[in-house]
């Protein structure tokens, strides 16, 4: 029972709350995402917008889950930071667990979209694979929350991802891209090793993910900040060197 004040029947406070509440719809909603998701020119901004409310909840929930973990995140806290109420979370998502799944799906959809934009086929195999590694590096570097969500889901042994339909089937386009680069490289004689595309993807991912995900314990133990701006370029080059060395070695 928080805020005895509000419950005590304080007329002024209550009336203020009951009033249509200085509706400032988008204000708290899209913090940063800016306009774009909805055709805003079409009439006066709606007071009720299911899609917008849903998106708002997802956005806030993503931050909160990434920050606190699944068990650590609080539904009340998420609701409070939304422009709507807790009731809406249950209305749109059903519960904490389904909200978490929706957050995961959104996060993976984001990375899939980014993968679509990769264009390295015009480069020679060695440059292409290095460029691909660097793009992966950059994406992970600028999306630490995604990495955190993945880490959290791994603690839960991916039970939610596994239960959610349509994940495995949606095979990532990068794997095909890597396969094509590797084939070209072998043909040209640049890559002297027979490598499985998925294994190479794992090699690249492990490096990029570790640098972001294990940054904190690494720093606590070895006193080195893997995420420092100064060393960013160094680690990016090192990744490219490693991948190229592995593929071109005897």
């Amino acid at each position: 029972m928080p805020r005895a004040q509000d419950v005590a029947g304080d007329g002024r406070t209550r009336r203020k709350a009951a009033t249509p509440r200085a509706r400032n719809p988008r204000a708290a909603a899209d913090g940063g995402k800016a306009a774009g998701s909805k055709p805003q020119g079409a009439g006066p901004a709606r007071q009720r917008d299911a899609e917008q409310t849903r998106a708002d909840i997802l956005e806030v929930a993503s931050r909160e889950f990434a920050e606190q973990g699944y068990a650590g995140a609080r539904v009340d806290q998420i609701a409070e930071r939304t422009r709507t109420t807790k009731r809406m979370i249950y209305y749109y998502f059903g519960g904490k667990e389904q909200l978490w799944i929706a957050v995961l799906e959104r996060a993976y959809a984001g990375i899939r979209a980014a993968e679509q934009d990769i264009d390295v086929e015009h480069l020679d195999p060695v440059s292409a694979i290095r460029r691909l590694a660097e793009l992966t590096f950059d994406h992970h570097d600028s999306h630490p929350d995604f990495i955190r969500l993945v880490s959290i889901e791994n603690i839960h042994r991916a039970e939610h991802l596994e239960r959610s339909p349509g994940f495995a089937s949606l095979n990532s386009p990068v794997i095909d891209l890597i396969a094509r680069i590797l084939a070209r490289g072998r043909e040209s004689g640049a890559f002297r090793r027979q490598v499985d595309p998925l294994d190479l993807h794992m090699l690249i991912s492990s490096y990029c993910v570790f640098r972001v995900a294990n940054r904190y314990t690494f720093r606590a133990i070895f006193d080195r900040d893997l995420g420092s701006r100064d060393r960013r370029e160094h680690y990016r080059t090192m990744l490219g060197d490693t991948v190229v060395a592995y593929l071109t070695a005897e």
Copy 2:
């Protein structure tokens, strides 16, 4: 207020509970660790043993935290799986957070101890670094709970590790070992690249950690089990190949 039964003053139940409780001290305690931590020949097994109780709690707590995460783990659950009660957790550790720190410290002490046993100095630089990578690989492979604890602590941005004194100072012996191997390799001309020992350690760790920590989401998305016995040797060799290729490449 659970178990109205017990509270209702059911004489039989209560008397049974009050009885010294078929003392079977070690039974629930060291599940698997077997004998070793205490000189068992010295007199009849004690009914009270502070060190043993403490160790028992730590053992159970480690499993529970690794399984559920920090926020997800329940003090009551930990207590229940111990041969003692919840009060003892607070008696010995002070609280959930301090228990977590103790669990972390114990886990890191374990890996430090393992690092002490590494002996590869008699090998030539290339073989030595490959062997070191393989030993790291094996250790991570057989201690998934340690990896989980580290992942969890990273979600919390290592705030506990940072607060716990005497972590950074205890510089890991592997780094020195790697430094010596790299120096030898450069002298002999086998390693043509100037590499920072800590960076190489990161390269090896990232691969080993990812394979264990991200196994679940990787499987859910790409339908490949990184932890499968069949592929273990393959991934171990691949790590060695990668590290050696990186160091020996132009």
